[in-house]
Symmetry: C2
Subunit: 162 residues, 2 copies
DNA sequence: TGGAGGATGTAGCCAAGGCTACATTTGAGA
DNA sequence: TCTCAAATGTAGCCTTGGCTACATCCTCCA
């Protein structure tokens, strides 16, 4: 067999991966998303607690997240520093306009991800579990695709006599 | 209007969210997944570098990930401690059996997530970008659902005269 | 109107995952 | 063979997000 250059180990994915410099951008993008995950979960949860119980207390957040109250208080401090919540010592936690904006957006995205997973046949338990992590990495374009698929599946289902 | 108990702010999602204690489990599950994301990206990338260039060097990993080489070296130390790679000072990095197992699994999962996003109409650039984060939160069940959908869409496409 | 107990705050610890700056080693080519 | 540039390693810094232990505050009820 004749020398063919540097291809000796069968690259295994021919049209697969993106170019190296595009991959760098993807990794950077994902690291950026990672840094906002916790903030998104917090503001979404705070909004839920306010909507259902009138106020969001550190102890409630801690119980829902399954972390210690000390962790919650420190994290809420960071959220306040970053302008997403306001709170005064020994008082409940409220969302700023910015925090509420993010909460509403996160909630819609989260719900759509769940709806989507359910639509493609994932069980309720797994859909909830996976959505909790997936949601933070779904761009607007992918979310739109999810919505399209949900529409198609529900359309097809009702067209064939529910 | 008569007192109706604690429902005054319209709970907004009736059958939406899971029960609080199920939600705790979901958050715990997601935190657990978060702790393995970086290891998965590293072993997958190391496998790619070995397959395409014969060896994986810290500087190559650093360039692909867009982080400093010092970060890579420290992380590789953790991977070695955890039994996923082996390396000797000033030498290249190799996968253990366990590391290779995880790399192969991660690569398959990653590729399927990309294929899935492309199948539902997401652009190539966004599919690659989103998949880099989504992959780590996709359970086996959800992955199976993805595979089903890819099969259906490809089937439908070829049925209607490609 | 006290307390007691629950909620909140504080201190200090840890590991992960980033970084820069500097030191050391390697190996390819002149 | 020797040198020097590139690769690797090390030190030390930072932030985040966990934890436990303990201190303080608030509030509700006896
Ligand atoms: Mn969410
Ligand atoms: Mn989440
Ligand atoms: Mn991957
Ligand atoms: Mn990834």
């Amino acid at each position: 067999m004749i020398e063919m250059g540097e291809t000796e180990a069968e690259p295994h994915q021919l049209g697969g991966m993106p170019a190296p410099d595009q991959q760098v951008e993807n990794f950077r993008h994902t690291r950026r998303a990672r840094r906002t995950e916790i903030a998104e979960d917090y503001v979404e949860l705070i909004a839920d607690l306010i909507d259902s119980g009138g106020e969001a207390r550190a102890v409630d957040i801690a119980r829902r997240l399954g972390v210690s109250h000390a962790t919650v208080i420190k994290t809420v401090g960071r959220l306040q520093r970053d302008g997403l919540v306001v709170t005064k010592p020994y008082r409940a936690i409220f969302l700023t306009d910015e925090g509420r904006r993010i909460a509403i957006w996160s909630r819609q995205r989260h719900e759509l991800v769940v709806k989507f997973l359910l639509a493609i046949g994932v069980s309720k338990e797994v859909a909830y579990a996976d959505a909790e992590g997936i949601e933070h990495h779904v761009s607007a374009e992918t979310l739109a695709a999810f919505e399209r698929v949900v529409g198609e599946i529900n359309g097809r289902r009702s067209a064939s006599g529910h």
